[in-house]
Symmetry: C3
């Protein structure tokens, strides 16, 4: 068991079987030592968790949980891209977090922190990433959060 | 005629002269063997096709056609970036698809499939890409779809 | 004083101390010779400039100024990523500009030009970048514009 698997175990996180894309694309592409991960959401066993919008049907706390679950799905894809070994991650380079919300909602950073915090919990310094967080009117499958990632492997 | 040009001919697709940007930027930048393509839209001879929003003035079918036309414009830019030879494409790495829509619309993946399907038709396995699809309230020139791309060349 | 510092002086631009992120991430990550810069906004000494939305509370002129100020903050981060020497910039590769706006607003390119024009003023040909500009319903801290960047260093 490598150090990242141990960390996940300590955190009580079991990575799921990576989701299949809902359309004609792939969940990740490796180009050189960079991995580009398709937009993920908080889907558990085929069911969307915390669906809806921040500012109206989803609370800030639930939004952050949605981002955390989304990040777990990002990690599941990343593990596959890294041939099953997350200790090959050199750096979580960048996340873009899209938050479904009302036009009045401006706390996107607090929502996406649910994902950013988990990346740092799991990878330490290597998990500290560049990030954008923006509002959107709606997301696929009524997700409240969608996150895409760029990761550098050793 | 290379294999990709033949494929385009089979599909009945004639790539247009690449559009000029509507502002002070360039349609693509090559950095190493990576090509970053600016957000494109379904513009044919200067006229926006399928303008408007999904969920209100643009149907799902028209949205997917908008994405397909947008993808053709991405390919026109890409051909120029590849010195006129699309067979130099090693991998379509990533697309981000922005769909102008109402807050209730959640079928962004079906819209962006119009582009993803074309990439796979044209490039086969090399066309299978990472992807994000999100809703936005509005796009430049009242486009219904805007797509940006990252592509790796040989 | 290098050529870029001279250019900034000519333009009357003083780069601020780079802003700290508002959450658990970092303002930029260097991966190889590429710099990924987190989404920035028009924040001056902790205060958001030109807050609100295009199409309702922020004019086109103010929106372009918001994008220009945002670009100055991108440059402040970039200078730090380039060890204090902006003449190491090989190419501004790509900007993504998110514009907070009403569903009716379609002039996102004119807004983001405030940033694109500045990049070309400062870096000349090296400043010409790929770009996407899209509308969003809302942004963190009620920013009217958020811009993220990918830059190649020598």
């Amino acid at each position: 068991m490598n150090s990242i698997d141990e960390k996940l175990k300590t955190l009580g996180i079991v990575l799921p079987t990576p989701m299949k894309p809902v359309a004609n694309y792939v969940p990740w592409v490796k180009s050189g030592n960079m991995v580009y991960i398709s937009g993920q959401g908080a889907v558990v066993e085929g069911k969307v968790q915390y669906p809806g919008k921040l500012g109206v049907t989803v609370s800030l706390e639930d939004g952050a949980q949605s981002a955390r679950l989304t990040c777990i799905n990002v990690l599941a894809q990343l593990r596959e891209a890294a041939d099953g070994d997350l200790s090959k991650v050199k750096r979580i380079v960048k996340l873009v977090g899209f938050v479904a919300c009302t036009p009045e909602f401006t706390d996107q950073p607090k929502v996406i922190n649910g994902a950013s915090d988990l990346m740092v919990e799991v990878f330490g310094e290597k998990g500290r990433h560049a990030r954008s967080a923006v509002g959107v009117p709606s997301l696929p499958m009524n997700l409240s959060v969608e996150i895409e990632a760029v990761v550098e492997l050793e």
